[in-house]
Symmetry: none
Subunit: 223 residues, 2 copies
Amino acid sequence: MTTVLIADDQPLQRFGFRMLLESQDDLTVLGEASNGSEAIRMTAQLHPDVVLMDIRMPGLDGIEATRRIVATGDRTRVLILTTFDLDEYAHAGLRAGASGFLIKDAQPEELLSGIRSVATGDAVVAPSLTRRLLDAYAHHLPAGGAAEGASQVDPRLSALTEREREILTVIGKGWTNSEIAARLHLAESTVKTHVGRILAKTGSRDRIQAVILAYDSKLVEPA
Amino acid sequence: MTTVLIADDQPLQRFGFRMLLESQDDLTVLGEASNGSEAIRMTAQLHPDVVLMDIRMPGLDGIEATRRIVATGDRTRVLILTTFDLDEYAHAGLRAGASGFLIKDAQPEELLSGIRSVATGDAVVAPSLTRRLLDAYAHHLPAGGAAEGASQVDPRLSALTEREREILTVIGKGWTNSEIAARLHLAESTVKTHVGRILAKTGSRDRIQAVILAYDSKLVEPA
DNA sequence: GCCACCGTAGTACCGCGGTACCACGCCCCT
DNA sequence: AGGGGCGTGGTACCGCGGTACTACGGTGGC
């Protein structure tokens, strides 16, 4: 028997998941959490085999919740379920230690088999994401290494090197590539290389997403 | 007995809706459509009392499907259900003739009562949308002027028209021109015209500066 | 009745941004 | 001595973004 905790801020979505899971003999829903903090608390208390985790939740989001749950060393596995197949999320989610990543745009059967796979220790990634994930990881692996303390660093930035975070900061200030090159005494091609890696690592499709990330992660502060 | 057609491209979402609705004695699900065209065809065939319509669907979207269903003059009512409470959607949806507009971030009871209201000819709008809808419709009358609240609008945004502020908001969310066009039902050239005027009026050299402005002026909030 | 503004839409053009791929020197670790 | 990560730099290509200009229907003001 596999036990599951549902973490999603949308009541209707939770309801659907619960109905689907409980229609299966081998799956039991232990509870429902509507945000990240709740998910962490309930996981510590109920020790489910699998947490079905939504990313977008008020307060503590699914990525951060995943990180903390995985950090406990408990045997609970996290399967992230999101509406969008943005690599940004996939990256951050997998870096956070999730065992799987599926998009909600999936057949019920896929979700069920995903849960069963994750419960037995396997990993699952939505087909539509697999390719891009491989590309991104082939491009460059994490490195990051230490940086354990780091405290309130946004997990999505954790893969970036020192220099890359610097560049991201000025991207967030709206500088163009040529401006960055001039003011940091670099060749524009170097700047492009950095920017490319930043986009790949953070899963941003263009510098605009990176600007938004810089703001959301408080790398740059609103004026 | 109220009959319902579910139109949503996400199988899991449909499953949840179906389970919820069928748990009620007075509601029957006649069928499920996974895109707009299917919704239209099935409506013409099954004549449900209510169509539960998602906006984002591949091919023909929910707005256009709503328009065509309403245009048939049939007594079928459309209740739009969307993930986001963007006013663009609400506007477009209600203009298209929808009888209601709810966000998926709702309690199951709200959805059920919404369906019953719409079936009896009433209209339903999600509480979080009501205010903005009223604001927008008020603007329809006297061209703003008063705007008693006036709130804390950033002076740099004061030259913008209502529509331009809308566009700037989604620019701030990182949408590309083509995404804006698609989701707001505009031609890309129109979007470019708007963007160009926004940049000119705000003194931004590119959309990146506009994104930063949107954050700094609190037009969009950090996640 | 006319004019100004707004929202819509189109065409044509060009440059920056992003990608793909390659390359080299430095430093740290084994 | 090797290897891997990092920062630097280069070339080539292409698509999206932004500009310039035009146009037209609707609405509200005068």
